[in-house]
Symmetry: C2
Subunit: 241 residues, 2 copies
């Protein structure tokens, strides 16, 4: 019989669904901080921008809602999510639990092309920083972590990490404290070296300290929500000085 009955998957992903395109575009806009937390995402508005019907937009928004990048309120619409301080803490605690372990595994599995991929990624980060595109640099910085999880070969945990990094983007948008932008470039570079050298213990420690550094760069003591709705702004607990 033919060796290809059904096992060979042509995988028609070449033509991806329209909702994927819209979801990706919105996701990128959020990651690059072009869409601020709290922004209302009207269905007609988005559909007009991308030239699709509300059916597609709704599917995309639903997906982003499941990724917790947007919050959908019944009969009211979708808004870019605004993680609470508590959520922010938990997200970074989870990252500090998962990612060092992932870096350790990545170091033991990384091939030459993996190292090249990481280096190429780092170069793009530097380029974005040099160009002054802070949003893009931030997005690439997140992707770097996702890439390491991919190299580690732990698909399931890599999926979790991807979710956490997406949420981290929102958290950074809300709670970032330091003015000195993207101090992470050299941290990433050191990680690349450790992983390429197969030095798992160092990679793990570097990742851990890198995440702690990020975590402590957040200001989780006061609400810094750039609330979009006037009502929310006026109802915030600080506006009664």
């Amino acid at each position: 019989m033919m060796p290809e009955d059904r096992s060979t998957r042509p995988l028609n992903l070449e033509r991806l669904a329209a909702s994927d395109r819209v979801a990706g575009a919105l996701s990128l806009a959020i990651h690059e901080h072009r869409l601020a937390p709290g922004t209302k995402l009207g269905e007609d508005e988005i559909g007009e921008v991308y030239g699709v019907s509300r059916t597609i937009v709704r599917a995309a928004l639903q997906r982003l809602a499941h990724n917790q990048l947007v919050e959908i309120q019944r009969n009211r619409g979708a808004f870019v999510a605004q993680p609470s301080q508590q959520e922010a803490r938990e997200v970074f605690e989870a990252r500090e639990l998962l990612e060092p372990r992932t870096a350790l595994m990545a170091a033991s599995r990384a091939t030459g092309s993996d190292s090249d991929s990481l280096r190429a990624h780092s170069a793009k980060e530097h380029a974005a920083i040099a160009a002054g595109d802070r949003g893009r640099a931030l997005h690439l910085s997140g992707q770097f972590h996702t890439e390491i999880a991919r190299i580690a070969g732990q698909t399931v945990i890599a999926g979790f990490i991807a979710t956490l990094i997406a949420r981290s983007s929102l958290i950074i948008a809300l709670y970032w404290r330091r003015e000195s932008a993207l101090c992470e470039s050299h941290a990433h570079h050191a990680l690349i070296e450790a992983i390429s050298a197969g030095d798992g213990a160092t990679a793990r420690d570097l990742m851990r300290s890198h995440l702690v550094d990020l975590h402590t760069a957040l200001d989780l003591r006061q609400t810094a929500t750039p609330a979009r709705t006037l009502k929310e702004a006026l109802l915030s607990p600080e506006s009664q000085a």
Copy 2:
């Protein structure tokens, strides 16, 4: 006639979207093993069952796809997911990483009502076993783990664990080996005692060994896909001896 309509149960969903109801029903059916992995989930068929249009069904299927309970193939439809052996391994590895830690935290945070809740849950499990309803017992067994994650107060990680448990249900459907059903009752009972007593270290160790026990009860060496479609059954690589 109006008051009659309002008194009917199904319309009692004051603020629950219709797609939530459908997604929940399908999810429950999968968890209770009434829907086997590989089963085709036609949109019209489901819509007819629940009395809703394809719009709702599609939203529900999309959500389940994101939870990885179903797989959606473009232009072909949705099928109950069939986790590979590799995925199965990774899911249980992730559980063994996350859940012992969660049990530890649950022990330190559990209140009296939490203990009561766990005990009530355990009672329901026993009732299901006594009634011979294996599917429901399995579902409740999974819920037990989710409940512990909830008690631990780690919302983010609890979400991950809920996902992992959902997938575990599929994995058990595909790769379960032992005939001695639900050996877990006493394991759960011991866990409840440790958590109620605030003995975190014991709870952690019990959880770890419980998960290892589950993991080793799987047979991940050979493909055991119970293909639903006749065509798939006849085209499977084993049916040509």
